[in-house]
């Protein structure tokens, strides 16, 4: 039973706020704000995945866009094959069922995460940042050049994929789907953080030697965390593709990897609800500044810089004070 301390209150408020905005928007007949809230939920889920590696394990992956984009492409490719009726591979057809797509995107990003992690985790520090970046670039260039699924033009999903019993084309219904998965993702993060595995992961960040001396191999712990992290980000990518009804290599770009890191730091590194707070802040910035000035990227940069320099701990840190552990 979680204690009702200040951070938990802030988290609860955030969770309620995220669900209140679309409900109110729906009542007022402003469906765009539902779309905006859905965007927040999905980006928060992707960042929660990254937070597992980055926040708990101290693994600064600059290549998580690879998993985000792979999840998106799984959704796009399966939907396209379902539409055309051609089999994807080994006689297996496409699908428009979201839950199948989620399972496949988790598998695909998990397998790719295992391969990337197995090589990358041999390095550390700056080398790790750069090698994850390089792997993501590899996937990015492959997606741009490979002609079968639209290359740089990307792939349209003509009709949003289905979930039994829910009309996913209705903005509010799709929001609830994303919201539930986000809460499950955050729940998973909390479970892992509280588990023995999570303790070992955090310990390996703080003192590798000590972990090794008690007989735990940090490499395995980190690799497991990296793979789970990739899976969570992958499923978020599948949802993102369904939100936009479109997937393109820009989901795989290094700027996307950078944005995911930005979300975490804006919200508060390693914090349970940090990614959600960061995603909400980022989407609101992008929306509000983009409406005000053509130069919004300039001001976005300025705000980010100020947050890094002067507001360490991010939004959650500001609202709930310093982390108890981390």
């Amino acid at each position: 039973m979680p204690m009702l301390n200040r951070e938990n209150l802030v988290n609860l408020a955030l969770a309620i706020l995220l669900i209140a905005v679309p409900l109110i928007a729906n009542g007022l007949g402003q469906p765009f704000y539902i779309t905006l809230a859905t965007r927040v939920a999905i980006l928060a889920l992707a960042a929660t995945g990254l937070n597992l590696a980055l926040g708990l394990g101290g693994l600064v992956s600059f290549g998580h866009a690879a998993f985000f984009g792979l999840g998106g492409y799984v959704a796009g490719i399966l939907a396209a094959h379902n539409f055309s009726g051609e089999p994807v591979i080994f006689g297996l057809g496409g699908t428009n069922q979201m839950w199948v797509i989620w399972v496949v995107s988790i598998l695909v990003s998990g397998i790719v995460g295992l391969a990337i992690g197995a090589i990358s985790l041999r390095t550390s520090g700056v080398y790790f940042i750069m090698i994850t970046l390089a792997f993501a670039q590899m996937v990015y260039y492959f997606a741009i050049s490979w002609p079968a699924y639209g290359g740089q033009d990307g792939l349209s999903i003509l009709v949003r994929n289905q979930f039994p019993g829910i009309s996913t084309m209705r903005p509010l219904s799709f929001f609830f789907v994303c919201y539930v998965i986000l809460i499950l993702g955050i729940g998973l993060f909390a479970l892992i953080r509280a588990s023995r595995f999570g303790a070992a992961l955090q310990a390996s960040r703080q003192n590798e030697v000590r972990v090794a001396t008690v007989g735990i191999r940090p490499f395995r712990i980190r690799l497991t965390a990296f793979v789970i992290s990739a899976m969570l980000t992958g499923i978020a990518g599948a949802l993102f593709a369904d939100l936009n009804r479109f997937v393109s290599p820009s989901m795989l770009s290094w700027q996307m990897s950078g944005e995911l890191i930005v979300l975490i730091i804006l919200g508060g590194t390693g914090r349970l609800f940090g990614p959600l707070a960061g995603a909400a802040l980022y989407v609101v910035f992008e929306y509000a500044l983009g409406g005000m000035t053509e130069r919004w990227q300039f001001f976005l940069g300025l705000i980010l810089l100020l947050v890094v320099l002067f507001a360490r701990g991010g939004l959650i840190g500001l609202l709930a004070g310093k982390a108890k552990h981390g």
């Binding site: 765009f32 704000y33 741009i144 990307g154 003509l158 936009n244 009804r245 479109f246 992008e286």
Partner: protein
């Protein structure tokens, strides 16, 4: 007397029809105003707004937003414009990949989309749509024209494009009309800035002509490096490679390059002269081909809006299809797939009063449509 009367009746009927449909029309313009590709988006916006301003129509509002050349952002803005700003018509996207992200969703939600530039094959054939119009061309057109032109003077062509769908469409379009031998067909990396390796291959290939499709910064880099390489093979490309937005940056290295285009600043018709003069007065620079296309897109929307309500989609579409405008391009009408049928010319880069610009040489195609219209069942 009789003429006067007729004129008066005409004036009356025009104003009456104007009055009848003087209801508000909201246009959402999504285009690239920041980042490396911003030049094209700014010309698009300025060309479009020039036509709106010239019309003096106060019932039309245009909301403009920057897509930063990111498909995801463009989709999000389109959602906002449709769901929150309640726009009737969307327009302005420069890039095919962004258009593919936005247009199918927009027309599915019952909004018109009038493209000012991007024209992927995917939307011109079997997947054409009643609400999707293209005021520019079909992506293959200018490449087809160069293929046709190459037949006349060249026997062995070296052709090159970036490795992405528009690049492959480009070379496919070129080959559709070119009948000679191919020395080589090379695909470069998107965003590549050094072409030394490709230029060396050109030198070694024994080609007598080179066709390149490299839009934006890629084309600038290629032309400058080619000029330094000592290779003397003539270079040609589609209009975008030598359009007004890139010419100043290429400099004299572009002189003599042949290209295809539906418009050049030296066109000798009233609409073109007026457009050129107005644009230069308003923005103090020469317009690019993107500005003309956007100017015509705005004219098309204005002409339809003056005769029909956008709320009546069928009537509005019928008026758009008539293409009752005076285009700086001269001949302009819509094909069955709602893409242009127009003349395509050969142009050459020249220096006029110290400014690099395109000069018209000859007409390559008259009333040219596209290869996909036959698959479109509208």
């Amino acid at each position: 007397m009789k003429n006067l009367l007729a004129a008066a009746t005409l004036a009356l009927s025009v104003s009456a029809s104007g009055l009848a449909f003087a209801e508000p029309l909201k246009i959402g313009m999504i285009t690239t105003l920041s980042g490396g590709g911003a030049g094209l988006g700014i010309d698009t916006r300025d060309g479009f707004m020039l036509a709106i301003k010239n019309s003096g129509n106060k019932d039309i509002t245009v909301v403009t937003e920057d897509d930063a050349q990111k498909p995801e952002l463009a989709v999000s803005i389109a959602d906002k414009m449709i769901q929150s700003d309640n726009v009737d018509v969307l327009t302005g996207i420069v890039w095919s990949n962004l258009l593919m992200a936005v247009a199918p969703g927009a027309v599915a939600q019952g909004k018109f989309y009038v493209s000012t530039n991007a024209a992927p094959a995917a939307l011109a054939g079997a997947n054409c749509n009643k609400l999707y119009f293209n005021a520019a061309y079909q992506n293959d057109n200018l490449h087809e024209a160069m293929g046709e032109y190459a037949n006349k003077a060249y026997k062995k062509m070296f052709i090159l494009a970036p490795n992405y769908p528009a690049g492959k469409d480009s070379l496919t379009g070129f080959k559709r009309y070119y009948k000679g031998e191919l020395a080589s067909e090379v695909y470069t990396q998107v965003g590549q800035t050094d072409y030394a390796a490709e230029i060396a291959q050109m030198r070694a290939s024994g080609a007598d002509g080179i066709f390149v499709f490299l839009p934006g910064g890629m084309g600038i880099a290629f032309m400058k490096q080619f000029a330094q390489s000592g290779v003397k093979i003539p270079v040609m490309g589609p209009g975008f490679s030598f359009s007004q937005d890139v010419l100043p940056a290429i400099g004299d290295a572009a002189l003599g390059a042949k290209a295809s285009g539906q418009w050049a600043p030296d066109f000798d018709n009233e609409a073109s002269k007026k457009f050129l003069a107005d644009f230069q007065t308003e923005y103090k620079r020469l317009p690019s081909i993107y500005a003309v296309q956007a100017y015509d897109a705005a004219q098309l929307i204005l002409s339809a809006a003056s005769k029909a309500s956008v709320k009546n989609a069928d009537a509005f579409r019928a008026e758009l299809l008539k293409a009752d405008i005076k285009s700086p391009r001269g001949n302009f009408k819509f094909n069955t797939n709602q893409h242009p049928i127009q003349d395509i010319y050969l142009t050459e880069v020249v220096k006029k009063d110290g400014v690099l610009t395109n000069k018209t040489v000859e007409k390559i195609f008259a009333d040219h449509g596209d290869a996909y219209a036959k698959d479109c069942k509208l």
